[in-house]
Symmetry: C2
Subunit: 253 residues, 2 copies
């Protein structure tokens, strides 16, 4: 089972869009996927048409240790399940449980999971205790980056945090890949920033670039991943291409 955090403390760079659509694309290729929404903004939850206001059991109860994974998992489709988030995650209370305050809450609740090939975790745009819980649990990290001027700003702080967790608590944690998002191939700026990102991360930068595509912004308002909303648009094709890279498949699989 591969466990992957989709994280970047910079806001609005494509974390949720990537977590949701990579999850759907992996399921499309036959994998059983669980996506865990750890963001109080509940954007991933909403992207599957799940209304956080109507739920009793969410990832919040996983953090407080009051519920087990099976009690909170929502089935979106046969191969795509969701642990939803709730705005209550913003209160600062979720991190206060003994396990969460040591970064162990997700690991304790989810390491025993069976029946999934992939667990993807959508992270909030912060470097706080919730994110630490995620980094302690997963073995892989995908960093979405918007190819704009500020993309590499603050990246050293993210890398330091990852490094700290990896050295002290989770030796298997590694950055699997960096994903250029909202890519606008027509502008010199995008290409320059992409070069800068490659200079920084080298081989880790995925060949796939997620191009700017309005369908990706529209799909959440229909409560479905883009693959269901418009299977032939660039957004869908790009995330299928990313899934192939993540799976190590040939480009025409």
């Amino acid at each position: 089972m591969r466990t992957i955090a989709v994280t970047n403390q910079k806001g609005g760079v494509g974390k949720t869009t990537t977590a949701v659509n990579l999850a759907a694309s992996l399921a499309h290729f036959g994998r059983r996927v669980l996506i865990v929404d750890c963001d109080a903004q509940t954007n991933a939850t909403l992207s599957f048409g799940i209304n956080p206001a109507k739920l009793d059991a969410t990832v919040y109860d996983i953090f407080t240790g009051e519920a087990s994974a099976p009690e909170v998992i929502v089935r979106y489709s046969d191969r795509l399940h969701v642990i939803p988030a709730t705005p209550d995650l913003a209160g600062g209370e979720a991190e206060k449980s003994p396990a969460a305050s040591r970064g162990q809450a997700l690991k304790q609740a989810l390491s025993g999971l069976t029946g999934y090939d992939f667990v993807l975790v959508d992270c909030p745009p912060t470097l706080g205790l919730i994110n630490v819980n995620v980094l302690v649990y997963v073995e892989e990290i995908i960093i979405p980056m918007q190819c704009q001027f500020f993309a590499l700003q603050g990246i050293s702080l993210l890398l330091k945090t990852i490094d700290l967790v990896q050295k002290r608590v989770n030796p298997r944690l590694k950055i699997t890949g960096v994903l250029p998002c909202m890519f606008d191939g027509r502008t010199t700026l995008s290409k320059e920033v992409l070069e800068e990102i490659k200079g920084h991360f080298g081989e880790k930068v995925y060949r796939t670039r997620i191009r700017s595509n309005v369908r990706l912004a529209e799909a959440p308002s229909f409560g479905k991943p883009v693959l269901e909303y418009d299977p032939n648009c660039n957004g869908a094709l790009d995330y299928l291409s990313l899934a192939r890279e993540v799976l190590g498949l040939a480009e025409d699989a």
Copy 2:
């Protein structure tokens, strides 16, 4: 003197782009403007070509009370001054000073300022103590919103926070305006979300919409506001239009 926070805890919606370019546009109309960067990502600071790594004195020292405003202000141009940020703001230490922990640090340091017509504050994408310090200090708030599906998500939390500060500490605090950013007029989604935003905020939504314009994303990499980088592009025109609305000027001023 008008004091305005540019805030929205959602990431990547246009706070910095708005703070920087509204500041420059107000200066263009002859006003003396101070822009205060309160974000550890230092994006506004970088947008003026200021390198945070080379500074001894920043807004951090304002928070800790170790420096006064005149000691940290950097002159970008005659009418446009900057209090720069530093990545150290992320450490959680800045908020620990007696004044900052009560939300009073900015107010104490900046209320005595003279010589400016406008003070604009660029806020981080959080609802933490740094933001509270900003809300305790300013009298006005501009909320940039991206016209996408998640725009109104989490807005109630922001409004609650503003309400709390206004009731308990700062009765003159008010939301002056909501600014549609990164507006893509071609898509139905943008128009639908704009309608939703208007339904929510009514008259407070500026007539000006900041259209998606790559020049706005490029300008920071040249260390200057868009008005200097490309004075005739849509980005420049839109922020001049916003400045007119903020100043209460006629549209052809």
